[in-house]
Amino acid sequence: MIEGTLVDLVPFEDDFATYLETWMNEEAWFRAHLWERREPHTEHDVKKFIERMEKDERGALIGFQAKSGDPIGALIFDHEWPRVRKAEARFFAGDSRYEGCDEVLDALLMLVRYCFETRNLHRLDAVALPFDEAKLDHLRRAGFVHEGTLRRHIRWDGDYVDMEMFGLLESEWPGYAAKVAELGLQPSGLEPKPKPEKKDEKKDGTG
């Protein structure tokens, strides 16, 4: 675990894996995976995705949770390129109540901190849809610089839409503590969700 200001980063297991069966079929997931064809994900797909990320030497899947232990969403760094020390940063709030809240921004700051201060990366890439106000706001507040627009690049809900491209250099990162002090993060005060039912506690004999 790495402790942040409003959230903690934890291994992606237990309740996170259960929640992901829902999260991987919701809007926040697809907005974090713009290239992928939008299609339903079964429990098997979710299990395979987690297994793939666990084996991925160029990326990682990390859970982030509120200080109460309530799982909020996932951080993904992916396509790490060791020679130029860069990677792609993705994040999403699986629990949609937290969308736009400072808990998600803190998670993004913690991902940047991990990539620059632990993994010694030089640069992070990020992408957002032009109408994804919450994500754009988080990226800008975290210090990501808008580097251009891939025009009418992907199909999205009946139209061809732009992709807004961002980058953050290690030399532009003031450090986690300084960034948190600058932003004045505020907790949302949301109540924790009830914990999900464990698969092996089901009474239908399939567990």
Binding site: W35, V84, R151, G167
Partner: protein
Amino acid sequence: MLEGLLVDLVPYGKAFQDLDHRWMNSEASFWSSGGERHFMSEAMVAARHAQWAEERERTGGGSGVGFGVQTKDGKPLGYFGINWLAPAHRLAMLGAKIGEPEYWGGGYGTDALLLLLDYTFDWLDVRKAWLMTTSMNARVMRQMEKVGFRLEVRQRQSALADGVWYDWLAYGLLRDEWAGRATLVEQLGLRERAAALGSGAK
């Protein structure tokens, strides 16, 4: 085969694969990869070919379309192709490498690019073609502007070449911005270039 004025695009067969070992370890790869210096043995190159063949067989064509580029008299020059085709978005990411440096800057790559764009838009019904190059590659940047691509993204300090940071640049061309091969052949003087070289012209 796609017939151009200076070059033809043909299957990337054995004649090309046999040259890949030299091309992969050459300056051509340094430029096309954004600063990578490969040390690839013949066995490594053969393994890569086997991997591509296996992927094509497994997926019924792979995720892209590759062509060999050759002169009108059949000399292999390099690769041009769609490295990644995304049918759901009708989007094609292009890639290229002219392995023989004496053919850089002579219009061969531009002729190959026009053939590839024609194929991409007119045969595959792609809506947008895009590609990436680095800010150290002035030759490709000029080529992009000549053909009508627009610079869309500049990813700062994302390429490292011989100890110097460069930017990766994303260029895009929408189908409704594509002037068409015939128009560009005339605008860019490729017919005159082919006539001067005595190449067969289409």
